[in-house]
């Protein structure tokens, strides 16, 4: 068991008002699953994603990640888990605009304290694996949207994380480029990676093995087709 949620609740305080975002989630994700989280806006999918990604902690309930209870960890302990165990891919790519592709991919290794020469080698390898071996010294503004998302993917992969979390990874891409990115996710899954995808597009969700639908902070539906279509 890679991930286990038991009665996870998340309540945001907006001034004096308490806004519940998650109202009791029980969820288990095995290693090498390919899961899509779906739901309309306000359903709590981003909150769920943030908690899975250790960017946020639950208000109530327990979240065990790779055998470790993370609900009560400090900011810096969460940062370490994010660094070593989780690879993020965002809708808006979130690359450092002034840094080269190589430096962007190196960044997680910087924070895990890996020496410079090894960092460079690993980052170059990761860029190679997403087909950007010839673009390592380009800055994000010299790259196309698809290429930027590949850099982001390389950055997510470079530390060999336990799970890759992607939040609307094709949201800012045209459908052809989006399909190429989804193809990479498929390959990654086949290589044994665990992937959790947040999307509101049905055809993207169809790429996954298992689909989790949220509504008003609760799991509405959890279908596991067991295999990749």
């Amino acid at each position: 068991m890679l991930i286990e949620f038991k009665g996870v609740e998340k309540i945001y305080k907006v001034g004096e008002v308490e806004v519940p975002a998650l109202r009791g989630i029980d969820l288990q994700i095995e290693a090498n699953e390919y899961l899509a989280i779906m739901g309309p806006s306000g359903s709590g999918k981003s909150t769920l994603m943030n908690i899975i990604g250790c960017l946020d902690s639950p208000t109530k309930g327990s979240y065990v990640f790779a055998g470790q209870e993370v609900a009560n960890l400090t900011d810096d302990e969460l940062a370490q888990i994010r660094n070593r165990k989780i690879g993020f891919v965002f809708q808006t790519f979130n690359l450092l605009p002034r840094a080269t592709a190589l430096h962007n991919v190196e960044l997680p290794l910087v924070y895990s304290g890996i020496p410079a020469s090894e960092r460079r080698r690993k980052a170059a390898e990761a860029l190679e694996s997403v087909g950007l071996g010839d673009r390592i010294n380009h800055r994000p503004n010299e790259l196309s949207g698809g290429q930027r998302q590949r850099v982001a993917l390389a950055r997510a992969l470079v530390n060999h994380p336990s799970i890759i979390l992607a939040d609307e990874p094709t949201g800012n891409l045209d459908s052809k480029t989006g399909a190429e990115i989804m193809e990479i996710f498929k390959t990654l899954h086949q290589k044994g990676n665990t992937i959790v995808l947040v999307t509101h597009e049905e055809y993207i969700a169809q790429c996954s093995q298992r689909r989790l639908r949220l509504l008003d902070g609760r799991v509405q539906d959890d279908t596991n087709s067991g295999e990749i279509p």
């Binding site: 810096d76 370490q80 660094n83 979130n94 924070y111 304290g113």
Partner: protein, 406 residues
């Protein structure tokens, strides 16, 4: 903090400063001015110190002055007016009774106009003394001779004149053997003093030396005599003590009363000089701390802007595993580099200002290494102190909020 964070911090800082070169320079202006002030003033004071110590040493290292008034008396001067004058006899007593004293010369100082035929000088220094003045003050006669003990005893109207007076009164003839008028009285020129140059901006060659007895005969005995005392080698303090107790006896001062005369030494000048430069130092500290404060606030301001501008970047860094400390150090390093650059520019400009003063005036600026270290230290400290708050603000950002920031 470890090396990887420093490396990443420097990389980030340099990148961000490159983006905003003009902003960076403007931000560090306060620090530049502060450090420049420190370096300029220290270099000038150091230069001045050297020049002054050299001139003070020129007064004669082993000489002190017994006088009615202390040097730089200021307000208390009025209290000292009623003191009994010092006399030539006091000088004779010192010479006879103080074993640690090498040489004694009583001197009367005055200012008088000197005339020769139709030419005349401004008021110049008249020094009325005895032949021993030559030894005590290291005066050498270049041509002719000093006046003799006999001339002193007989109150002869003879004089030795300095080079400036020679130039002023005798442009093309030899002055030796001529009669000049000092304060309207006729004097025979018997010697020309060797060139002395200037001290504290005063021309030491605009001087005439005459016998002290002659001076008293012609111009009166109301003035108090200054007694120049040269101590035997290494017996300076001893000589001072002997002279003090002798003078107290001669002036009948009861044991617990204060001296009613002054012993003036080079240290007296040095102390006054030091108190003057310490005022300059205080002004420097004032000016530079204000500009460093302004510079620090500038840095804090620009770092806050920088943190806000890069909220998203901070979010990204945190999402991929940067801890609070990582972000804190990265922004601190940026502040430090910013202020450090200001410090370096300030040191450069301050050094330049010192060089400029050296080139335009006789004052030679000296930039000691410690002032450079001081300048760098101050600017770095300012960067650190004023960078902490913005950096802490960055470090505390919630990654989710930061990532959503547009």
């Amino acid at each position: 903090m470890n090396l990887r964070e420093i490396g990443e911090g420097i990389r980030m800082a340099v990148g961000s400063l490159r983006m905003h070169k003009v902003r960076a320079i403007l931000t560090t202006l306060g620090i530049i001015i502060g450090v420049m002030t420190v370096i300029t003033i220290i270099s000038l004071i150091q230069g001045l110190n050297r020049a002054v110590s050299k001139q003070i040493a020129g007064l004669g290292a082993n000489v002190f002055y017994v006088q009615k008034y202390p040097w730089f008396a200021g307000e208390e001067w009025f209290e000292y007016r009623n003191r009994k004058n010092l006399s030539i006899e006091d000088a004779q007593a010192i010479a006879e009774l103080c074993p640690s004293v090498e040489n004694v010369a009583p001197v009367l100082y005055s200012g008088k106009v000197i005339k020769f035929k139709d030419r005349s000088t401004e008021r110049v220094d008249i020094r009325a003394t005895t032949p021993s003045h030559q030894d005590v003050s290291n005066t050498t006669v270049e041509r002719g001779r000093f006046f003799t003990q006999t001339e002193l005893n007989h109150r002869r109207q003879v004089c030795i004149i300095g080079q400036t007076i020679v130039k002023g009164l005798f442009p093309d003839e030899a002055p030796l053997g001529d009669h000049i008028r000092i304060g309207g009285r006729k004097f025979l020129v018997v010697g020309i003093q060797e060139k002395k140059g200037s001290m504290f901006g005063q021309d030491m060659d605009a001087v005439a030396i005459i016998p002290i007895t002659t001076f008293q005969k012609l111009f009166g005995t109301r003035r108090s005599v200054s007694i120049m005392v040269e101590a035997k080698p290494k017996l300076f303090e001893m000589a001072k003590d002997e002279v003090t107790s002798l003078m107290r006896r001669r002036r009948h001062i009861p044991p617990k009363e204060k001296n009613d005369f002054a012993i003036n030494t080079q240290d007296t000048i040095m102390n006054v000089y030091k108190s003057l430069t310490s005022i300059a130092f205080l002004v420097m500290i004032g000016v530079s701390s204000i500009s460093l404060l302004v510079g620090g606030i500038g840095i804090m301001n620009i770092m806050l802007v920088s943190v806000t501008e890069r909220t998203r970047e901070i979010g990204i860094r945190k999402a991929i595993g940067a801890g609070r400390k990582d972000i804190l150090f990265q922004f601190l390093i940026e502040a430090l580099i910013l202020s450090g650059i200001g410090g370096i520019i300030g040191i450069g400009l301050g050094g330049g200002a010192g060089k400029l003063v050296s080139a335009l005036t006789p004052l030679k600026a000296v930039i000691p290494l410690w002032s450079i270290i001081l300048g760098l230290g101050f600017s770095s400290a300012v960067g650190l102190i004023f960078g902490i708050w913005p950096a802490a603000k960055a470090a505390k950002l919630n990654p989710i909020v930061a990532l959503r920031y547009e």
